[in-house]
Symmetry: none
Subunit: 536 residues, 2 copies
């Protein structure tokens, strides 16, 4: 205690409170992987779970002792203060918490007198004794104690005197930090700032206070920052804001704001730029699609629809970004959209490693094609791979074309017995050879995909490692008197990377086919870097 790093705490509770999010169910191995990522991010404390209450969490702490070696973070176990009317040393959950063998424990206590009386069904005095006894017990066992005051803000509004005595009791008993929790998440920054300031005034000195915010007013990040501005020196958050109901304070946004807006370095040197990677990796483990629009770390967090200002953005990116995306490990992406002009095509190409400055005729031709196709319903803003193929097709002297199509046929049948089956046949020419192949699938597009792979894989064995990851369909209403068209986006990937392609046609199967063709062509190119390099 008392080390410089101890002046400000970044406390992550992804693995405890964040795991309350509906749909999240980590295995112990998942939890270990998340803990390693959070350590790379550089947080000071990782709350790993509630030993005793959750069997998985008991196992997590046991395995962590041998399997985790953390560089930056300390592991924290969470538990409750002793039960009413039970001696601390006899409380089974207290025992389990001790047995987790973490240097720091985080105890939760009631701080709203209504919860004390109506949910705990005990007296205000007994609750204070539970807090004092429990804190003292762990301090005597050589542990550092953080105390979470559940429902603090609602309780303080209802009965400020009781809230104050809970905080005082915990500090007097030896708690290192008392954490004020907006458990129901109804706070606003102004009220949080006011309450924390007032409490500090009443406590006097430099009380070590923390903040735990929930996002029910969409203000969890702002409330956390407001508490820091009012003097809190410990903030709790979760990766990507995962948590119960609308979630917790997103620790990435909290870190981004503290660092770039308040000028506080809260991560070790070199850690800030891991944010995007850590955010996406944890989303993968949680099996939740990353929020592309998340502040700081989302794929679209710095994406500009190019439009009229593309040239201005090119000259002065700092005029259009609130921070430099690179410092958090993100990129500025220029979207090629309906309003596409030469500047945005050039910028986007450069982003993909294709310099068009020496090729004005290619730039013109690509810009023309993008404009025409976007008017027809194509959208390159999400389909970088299709855009890259388009540019390379114009740039290359000898473009890599994986195959040419002769014909395909897809049949979907709902049979008399109720079974629904899909079957596709493709006839293609691959490197001079005519190949006919058939595939089945749980839908027409899967069947086509299976048939096309079957036709190509002998010539392009790398395709056996390419998977179709996601498939999106959108019907676009016709404009200017044409009929409706269907736009399909396909996400594909191999062991190394993933890419998105687009196809448009009035027929959903043909639109899917076009996106599939780009997807597999890109997959073939990805495996043939020498060909791609030679073609530049």
């Amino acid at each position: 205690m008392g080390t410089p790093a101890d002046e400000f705490h970044l406390f992550d509770t992804t693995l405890r409170d964040g795991a309350q999010r509906e749909g999240i169910s980590y295995s112990v191995t998942d939890k270990l992987a998340v803990a390693r990522l959070l350590d790379e991010l550089g947080v000071g404390f990782i709350e790993g779970g509630w030993p005793g209450a959750m069997p998985k969490d008991t196992e997590f702490f046991a395995r962590a002792r041998t399997e985790l070696s953390l560089r930056h973070a300390q592991l924290v176990a969470f538990g409750s203060t002793r039960k009413a009317g039970v001696a601390v040393a006899d409380d089974k959950q207290v025992r389990a918490l001790l047995d987790a063998q973490t240097g720091t424990v985080c105890l939760v206590a009631k701080s709203d007198v209504r919860h004390v009386e109506r949910a705990l069904r005990t007296t205000r005095e007994e609750n204070l004794a539970m807090i004092a006894d429990s804190v003292r017990f762990f301090v005597e066992q050589g542990r550092r104690v953080f105390l979470d005051c559940e429902h603090f803000f609602d309780g303080y509004r209802y009965d400020p005197g009781y809230g104050l005595s809970v905080v005082r009791t915990a500090l007097d008993a030896g708690a290192d930090v008392v954490v004020l929790c907006d458990t129901n998440g109804g706070g606003l920054p102004s009220s949080v700032y006011r309450t924390v300031s007032e409490l500090r005034g009443k406590l006097g000195g430099e009380p070590r206070l923390g903040m735990h915010a929930q996002n029910d007013t969409a203000c969890a990040v702002a409330n956390t920052i407001a508490a820091v501005e009012a003097g809190a020196m410990h903030v709790q958050g979760t990766a990507n804001g995962y948590g119960e109901r609308p979630g917790n304070a997103d620790i990435f946004a909290v870190i981004g704001n503290l660092t770039t807006k308040l000028g506080r370095q809260v991560l070790p040197d070199g850690c800030l730029e891991t944010m995007v990677r850590v955010s996406h990796a944890i989303a993968e483990i949680a099996n939740i699609a990353p929020d592309t629009h998340q502040a700081y770390v989302g794929a679209s967090a710095f994406a500009h629809k190019a439009g009229l200002h593309a040239s201005a953005i090119k000259v002065d990116p700092d005029l259009y970004n609130h921070v430099d995306p690179a410092i958090v490990g993100n990129d500025m992406r220029i979207l090629v959209t309906e309003m596409a002009g030469r500047a945005s095509v050039e910028l986007k190409s450069r982003e993909l490693g294709l310099d068009l400055t020496g090729h004005p005729e290619v730039l013109s031709s690509v810009t023309e094609q993008v404009k025409r196709r976007e008017a027809e319903g194509w959208s390159y803003e999400a389909a970088d791979a299709s855009f890259e193929l388009l540019v390379r097709g114009e740039l290359d002297d000898a473009p890599v074309t994986a195959f040419t199509l002769e014909s395909y046929r897809v049949i979907v049948e709902h049979r008399e017995d109720g079974a629904v089956v899909s079957e596709a046949t493709v006839k293609v020419r691959v490197r001079g050879e005519r190949v006919i192949a058939t595939g089945e699938g749980n839908g027409p597009v899967n069947a086509l995909d299976a048939a096309l792979r079957a036709a190509l894989v002998r010539h392009y064995p790398h395709l056996s490692t390419v998977d179709l990851l996601d498939y999106k369909v959108r019907i676009l209403e016709g404009s200017h008197g044409t009929g409706a068209v269907t736009r399909v986006l396909v996400d594909s990937g191999d062991e190394r990377r993933s890419w998105t392609t687009v196809g448009v046609h009035e027929n959903v199967v043909e639109a899917s086919w076009r996106a599939l063709v780009d997807a597999l062509t890109y997959g073939v190119r990805a495996a043939a870097p020498q060909a791609a390099a030679a073609a530049r």
Copy 2:
């Protein structure tokens, strides 16, 4: 102007700034539908788009004049101040804005001197003249003018004097409200509060100021509330926070906070409870999966993992919710289940003219089916006709079933000459007769639709007047260990009305078939009101 409703403005820009979100591409019909929903929500102003700059928006304002009749909101057209060195009356975009014929226009102006000099490439004086001339012009034409100060906060930090003169110039020229925009979204509530307060002090009196926040620090909602606390009387937001990069201020959270936290009634009586429905319906139109964890309106916004406190929550729900979910049209869900409960099934049935109070067994059975199907990916929120058929199927002694399916087959071929053709054959029994029919179409679903109609129309001539109006597809990620499924929504209509049906299956063709069957069955029933009435 000067009406009581004019004291505080809720200004929605879902259709203008919100449409900048990556992946959103509204048709004009979509925009009209969104405008109707926002009007039901009760906002005061709906910014519809940028006539002149976007052809779709020009068309939107033209169609809005005949096709929209708004109860609460006024439509606002957006545009830029005049170009540098051009007389207002000669500026083409100014003309286009005037031609949109809205009572209120929202003009955007540069207010950061660096953007004036480096992006606009004009002088600070000319920029002020552009603002003064443009505001005066529209006021003289009888329009109310709001002026958006782009990059206001960054500009004010860099050169407060220039920011102040931009605001003064606009107000002096007759702008009703000057809107301070945090265009790059880097603000925090404390800095926004400080800047708005300071600006108000310098301006003196009661200047009519607005706030437009972006979510790049995850504080857009908080920044909006902070501006109101500092005296702003006009707030701009978008449905579900849709917008460029991390988006705009989510208007639902802004409304929720203003109403339940600051005690300001910002919506007409009875409108607050439409929030959940409007939020989800706009997400459907935008074809973006609703954020289940969104504050106030998300399906999980008030969902508690039933843990230790389940019984306490049941006894004292107000101790565990920051507001009563019902006031915003949401529910508290204690157990992890899908949305449907008996109460909402009963309510929705009544809405459709089906009273289930005397049929508790029907209510149970429908609730069960809806729960099971929603777990599989069906969604009855947008598909009233499918829901009505489900309820009637349980209610009716002799349900009207238009036909039974024996089998169908659909073929899609991409032929050697490049032509793509779709052909479907259906085998059905209609009123005891076995009918085989074939249809062609520009896609598999059109072909199936054509074949099914051909089979049915002799027995149900009314179907010749039923059209398939729109078709939406969404791939739903698998849940509970199942693979991805496809959900199809079909809008159909005859001369009198339109209706929506839903189908779900892993195969897109079968999912479409299910939605089509409901669509045509509903069409048959619509033509046979006596049968429907008899069945009640």
